[in-house]
Symmetry: C2
Subunit: 357 residues, 2 copies
């Protein structure tokens, strides 16, 4: 059967489909539980989240599903906190702050990672996934001691190999089509903008852990194509952003469902790290300053108020409208119905195919 | 059967695999005939070619195969011939010219397109494919009157629609993974860097002519994945560059077979149009001047001598080493053996899959 792979066995899920752990409030406890209850794997995107808030959400999810789910965390970096650079960045952001009538942020970023890991262990979360790198050996060892399965993110073959060497149980191969932040950690991101069609088979040939394809996959066609490339499962982000249970802002959902395949761009202007989203006025005006903006996560903190106020004041041209390159395949439906239709379509395509050949 | 699609019926070929019509001497009459004799579609890349030279090659191909083949031509543009800009560009190229001990080129570009079309009609070439745009209605009408099938190139959904509207019989959807020149003609190429996994299903949903997937496809996995995305066939370029019958320079073949998936970049430095190749010294040193270089095809003419002398003097760091993002899947074999193994592997994968499900 198409859905019985080493990945589904390892993660104890029925269908090899993972809802990406998108940060920024998209992954409500409802969407995570809906996806896991449908037999796929829901993920809480805890990236920037306060550890206590994260714990409450995990407890919510556990109330709503008895099936495995994942929590996604961001491997921390130690950014250079340069007050002069922050002042300069805030000056560049001033027109947006003015237009939204809000104050600048001081760029202080609380470190949450270690506490997040403790909460994940305390709550016995079945699966922990990582973005922006590989955690230290002590962190990996601690999670493994508690029988928590680990899933890493790679954007090159080398990053996938590093994930396997570090002891990950599976690795997401994130193609350049993917929406939101690039998981790149090993080299300049420009070199790591490799399309899913290229990245997946080359990765599969060089690691022995299950590879999860991500980037551009929105429907049954993408799921089967990814499996044919050698992936054991897929991770879908944008497809779930527009679902009813998603916590994405309504302007974000609307922007995706009305977008076209050529409307996205990769920008560091919102967070200091490259991410793919729908091009808009904020990105266009800040693009020329990309080289002088503070590193992630400082820039992310500086623009936090802008993004929030822009949503409240219905100014999507200042929002981070993360999206992959397949918006024409997006749907307004529930996450459950999306999954059910993908599973049904997958079976229809495969049956038709079997009968034909 | 997997190989019976509307595309194979239209083009009268046995397997839905097209060897891309790469310019620059890669597509010898041997490789075109080998591919067509194996039941796929060989293409002569006549892009920059003198019409007489093209005619001789077409006659060679017709001697070597009775099966359909294609000739690929470049839809011409009228570049601004600015002597001052050419002088400036040649000044920037001077260090390379000096190192190779060759003279600068005056940037005069003969217009070959109309004569190429006449020769294609005269030789009754079965299929004519286009890159860099859509030819004028009179050209299309003339080719159609002579029952020549037409295949266009698109890098966005909109470009595919424009191809269908112009009367193309099929369209290549060229994903961002693809090596060599981007076929983009409708907007800035940055917006048209869409991964194959995203581009193919979205294109299939918006045109009724057969879609041919290109970009990152090197083996049976890629062929099946493309078909599952809704493509009716694939076009492969890089996979054939390294084959024995290919006329690619030995340094070019060697660069691909020893490359990695993250080693390519998209550059306009060689030709004035964006193209994907293995990053090297020439690209790195000229990148900063990209904005002031003459348009295609003038820049292409200016660097012609450099590329030729670099190959002769074994200086691959000055050569245009066009390659897609899947070099780890490249093979040193004959084009015939490559095709036979892809066809065999495709059938093995599908049989295994059928038995499993």
């Amino acid at each position: 059967m198409w859905n019985q792979t080493k990945l589904t066995e390892t993660l104890d899920i029925k269908f090899p489909i993972i809802q990406a752990g998108m940060a920024g409030g998209v992954t409500t406890s409802e969407i995570v539980a809906s996806v896991s209850n449908a037999g796929a794997l829901g993920s809480l995107g805890a990236g920037y989240m306060d550890p206590k808030e994260m714990q409450t959400l995990i407890q919510d999810i556990k109330q709503k599903t008895k099936h495995p789910f994942a929590v996604n965390v961001f491997v921390p970096e130690t950014p250079k906190h340069n007050p002069e650079q922050i002042e300069k960045a805030n000056k560049l952001l001033q027109p947006f702050l003015n237009d939204l009538a809000i104050k600048a942020n001081d760029g202080e970023v609380p470190r949450v990672f270690e506490q997040q890991i403790d909460k994940i262990i305390e709550e016995q979360v079945p699966i922990c996934s990582f973005t922006f790198g590989i955690p230290s050996k002590p962190v990996i060892d601690k999670l493994k001691e508690h029988h928590i399965l680990l899933v890493g993110t790679a954007t090159t073959v080398k990053e996938a190999i590093l994930n396997e060497e570090a002891g990950m149980d599976a690795v997401v191969a994130q193609g350049s089509e993917a929406g939101g932040h690039r998981g790149t950690f090993d080299r300049p991101f420009e070199n790591s903008m490799i399309g899913t069609m290229s990245l997946v088979p080359q990765t599969v040939d060089h690691v022995s852990i299950p590879v999860i394809a991500a980037g551009g996959i929105m429907d049954a066609r993408g799921v089967i194509a990814a499996l044919m490339l050698g992936a054991q499962g897929v991770q879908m982000g944008t497809a779930f952003v527009t679902s009813e249970e998603s916590g994405a802002k309504k302007q974000h959902k609307e922007a995706i469902t009305t977008s076209t395949e050529d409307a996205t761009t990769v920008t560091t202007t919102f967070s200091g790290k490259p991410a793919r989203g729908i091009d808009n006025q904020f990105i266009q005006e800040m693009r020329q300053h990309e080289n002088i903006l503070p590193d992630y996560p400082i820039q992310n903190t500086l623009t936090k108020g802008i993004r929030k106020a822009a949503a409240e004041q219905n100014k999507p041209h200042y929002m981070s409208l993360w999206a992959g390159q397949s918006p024409l395949l997006s749907q307004k439906t529930s996450a459950t119905d999306l999954l059910l239709s993908i599973i049904k379509d997958t079976e229809v395509i495969l049956t038709t195919f079997n009968n034909d050949s």
